[in-house]
Amino acid sequence: MIRNITLGQFIPGHSLIHRMDPRMKIALTFAFIIFLFIASNFAGMLLMVALMFVVLLCSGVPLSLYFKSLKGILFIVLFTAVLNLFYGGGTVVWRCPFFPVMQITDGGIGNAVFVSVRIVCLILYSSVLTFTTSPTELTDALERIMKPLKVLHIKVHEIAMMMTIALRFVPTLLEETDKIMSAQKARGADMESGGVMQRIRSLIPVLVPLFVSSFRRAYDLAMAMECRCYHGGEGRTKMKQFHLTKVDAGAAACTALICAAVIFCTAYFPASLR
């Protein structure tokens, strides 16, 4: 079951978004997230949603996969939406007959819609980044973006390498966990019943073998890396070079335009338009 989690799943392809420089993708994702929170009226939000849909369509990844990634957070969205329903001023639409403090206002409804749209956009837009960028590209790009931090004696290359390896081993370790759990269940381990303490204790037969195997893997991997002449970031080259192309320039220009429009909307349309 554990294996079904989609964790930053990369979908290979040749779409416009796939071909973009991952550094630009990261930068634009940041810009998008910031402007999601700047956009505070319907006009602005509409623009952001429109931009998001264009990007989704350009990514060449089936839309169904995006919706699958939403499934996991549906509960959080609903929860925050319901919570927001009861906060906010304005005309009262409904009041709880038993607890008069609980009331839904038109402002609350507006809040709820806004918050849900924001979370959904946030997830979908960052899924574009992880779907179209391989984990190695992502860490490479982060390494390059963070390069200036070297001045502060931060080990940028080592951090990026650790991220690459961690991402590589996540599916392997999940599979391993599954296997160990089955093996212990076959010996009668009971992991589904009992109180909190008992459940925690019942994890020991899974966690100990998992740690042991992780250390063994780490040892093997370290040896394999040494065999392949790994000696730190010094003098290393990269097969994939990042080049800013016309696609990147176009994407940046479009995003900038939308962002400017969002600022314009926020500044000139009265907030009551919500």
């Binding site: 190695t136 040494e226 790994y230 000696h231 290393r236 990269k238 097969m239 994939k240």
Partner: protein
């Protein structure tokens, strides 16, 4: 001249608190020529893996010397150059892949060597084609079969353009199909690219196709020679609880009974032909 050369090589693991010094190699002398395909056979604990790790300076001899193309493995400055020339493939295919995308993993070695990006690209493509995994270059390694993963690991070594590959029980964790894939891959690399191969295994049938078989037992070389020479010593191998292919054993057993059969049959076909010859002549 010999490409890999172990000269009276000994190796002991360092003493620890509760374990005394344990010598696992006792003065082994072995030379391997360029382009040769050598199978190194033996039990677990016979020292075959330990010896293999000496050939790319992953382990350093505690006595004697090991040379790779004339380079002394004891020289710290030569370490990287030695590892570029002699690649080591390990047993567990899951634990030696670094990146989440096949082609990026294959690029790892050349990247460490500081090779120019377009050249890395060329080498990666070529290496993936050499192991017949080019179509999988954008896949995630964890979705591949064991045999495919092991071929990716081999491609990762090939991309460094080594002269020699040492494989430490590369098939031990694979199913029969995976074993066939890996074996035919390394035989092809040896034949077509002239890469020297040292294959460590405990499957006797994998050794049959080698140019030379070296049998190790308890840290020493028990016997060596062509597969035919080695496998005709059935009694010696059996005394050391080593297997021989069933075809070889059958012919040997019938020979013991006094029948006029060749000294050694390496494959099923050879065995059948020999038996047929005997049966038809007699009938």
């Amino acid at each position: 001249m010999e490409y890999l050369s172990a000269q009276n090589t000994s190796f002991s693991y360092e003493e620890t608190e509760d374990e005394e010094k344990l010598e696992v190699l006792h003065g082994v002398t072995l030379g391997i020529r360029k382009g040769e395909f050598v199978a190194l056979l033996g039990h677990n604990g016979s020292g075959k893996s330990t010896l293999a790790k000496h050939f790319n300076a992953m382990l350093l001899p505690s006595g004697g010397k090991v040379y790779v193309d004339g380079l002394d493995t004891m020289d710290e400055n030569l370490k990287l150059e030695i590892r570029r020339r002699v690649g080591l493939v390990l047993q567990n295919p899951d634990n030696q892949l670094v990146a989440s995308v096949v082609e990026e993993d294959v690029a790892f070695g050349p990247e460490n060597l500081g090779i120019a990006p377009p050249e890395i690209r060329r080498r990666v493509d070529e290496a993936l084609q050499a192991v017949e995994m080019y179509d999988y270059r954008l896949n995630a390694p964890y979705k591949l079969s064991g045999g495919q993963k092991q071929r990716i690991a081999i491609a990762g070594i090939i991309a460094m353009e080594p002269d020699c590959i040492v494989l430490d029980e590369p098939t031990a964790m694979l199913d029969p199909r995976g074993r066939d894939e890996v074996l035919s891959t390394i035989h092809r690399l040896n034949r077509e690219k002239g890469i020297t191969v040292v294959l460590i295994t405990h499957y006797m049938d994998e050794a049959v196709g080698a140019d030379r078989v070296v049998v190790m037992d308890r840290g020493e070389i028990l016997t060596q020679g062509t597969p035919r020479e080695v496998f005709s010593q059935v009694q010696l191998l059996k005394d050391h609880q080593l297997d021989v292919p069933q075809a070889t054993e059958l012919v040997w057993r019938l020979r013991q009974e006094g029948f006029d059969l060749p000294e050694c049959a390496l494959s099923a076909e050879e065995c059948v032909t020999a038996l047929q010859k005997l049966l038809t002549r007699d009938f």
